[in-house]
């Protein structure tokens, strides 16, 4: 057992070294922070469950390069997101922006929660109105 734990500990400590350009991109810490934030927010289209920060697909590398270029040209974060959305669609952003097309993404969770709440209230009301009889109580 302790061996197993040791083994698990060993593997949990292992880190994967990937060929990602993790070198600092900017000397300016503020630019570097913006860069790191943006690349976490952008989905790698080639490997859809990774951000371009985590992906070593060449497309992610190309996009990181373009983002570095735009940052060094003094573009704002929104301009960079617009650039990506215009080319790859809203899907490229992990946090899609509120718009006609993405409205359902934002509203659906609240709508579902409300619907569930209504059902719950309804069921509880009906239960409360039910007489407590011996058989039902014994079942529970």
């Amino acid at each position: 057992m302790s061996r197993l734990i040791a083994l698990l500990l060993f593997f949990s400590m292992a880190t994967v070294a990937l060929a990602i350009d993790t070198d600092k991109a900017f000397d300016d810490p503020e630019l570097q922070a913006r860069y790191e934030h943006i690349i976490e927010e952008v989905r790698c289209l080639k490997c859809q469950n990774q951000s371009i920060k985590d992906s070593n697909a060449f497309l992610a590398g190309d996009l990181r390069r373009e983002i570095r270029r735009m940052l060094s040209e003094g573009k704002s974060d929104d301009e960079i997101y617009d650039f990506l959305v215009a080319r790859y669609g809203e899907f490229a952003l992990y946090r899609p922006r509120m718009s006609g097309k993405t409205l359902i993404l934002w509203i659906a969770p609240i709508g579902l929660l409300l619907a569930g709440g209504l059902v719950l209230v309804n069921v509880l009301r009906r239960r409360m109105a039910m007489p407590i009889d011996g058989d039902a109580a014994a079942e529970e």
Binding site: L45, Q48, R87, Y88, G89, F91
Partner: protein
């Protein structure tokens, strides 16, 4: 009546889930559909000194095909592209994406060259402008420069007949 609501909810879920099941998440709608196609201007693959670009097919119905030698699907569709080029149905323009020149040239020599030209996009800049994320990708461009259709993955005669021919015959977007 008591069961009506759960059954309706269940059926709705079946519809939603089957949509999710049969919908390929890799196939994303191109934001360029129905919009002006991106432009490009880069060196030609076969003639490095010649600049080629979207201006070369302005005013014509054209097919823009993104390919690379490292891309398996591109090899798969190459035979069909050759056939299409021979038929003269539509001029095909290539974007050789993130590739290596000698290998790409060898590919065209061995398998044939269906392209009017291939733009040599070594650093992927043109690919980014076109929102390319997985070769092969094929765009149908109208004479006015509008993206009528985008196909992700290898082309074949059946897909061509079903998705491209009606649009080409209509000469404009018909969705």
């Amino acid at each position: 009546m008591r069961f009506a609501i759960p059954i309706v909810v269940f059926l709705l879920l079946v519809v939603v889930f089957s949509f999710g099941l049969f919908n390929d998440p890799r196939e994303l709608p191109s934001p360029f559909l129905g919009e002006q196609a991106p432009t490009f201007e880069v060196a030609s693959l076969t003639e490095p000194d010649r600049v080629v670009g979207s201006a070369d097919y302005a005013g014509k119905m054209a097919l823009v095909n993104v390919w690379a030698t490292w891309c398996g699907g591109c090899r798969q569709e190459h035979g069909f592209l050759m056939q299409l080029a021979r038929s003269g149905a539509i001029p095909i323009y290539g974007i050789n994406w993130r590739d290596n020149r000698p290998e790409a040239l060898r590919w065209l020599e061995q398998l044939g060259d269906p392209y009017e030209f291939s733009a040599f996009d070594a650093d992927g800049r043109v690919g980014i402008d076109w929102g390319v994320y997985g070769a092969p990708e094929t765009f149908l461009i109208s004479p006015e420069g509008i993206v009528l259709h985008k196909h992700l993955g290898p082309l074949n005669a059946a897909i061509w007949q079903e998705d491209f021919v009606p649009l080409i015959e209509a000469g404009g977007p018909s969705s």
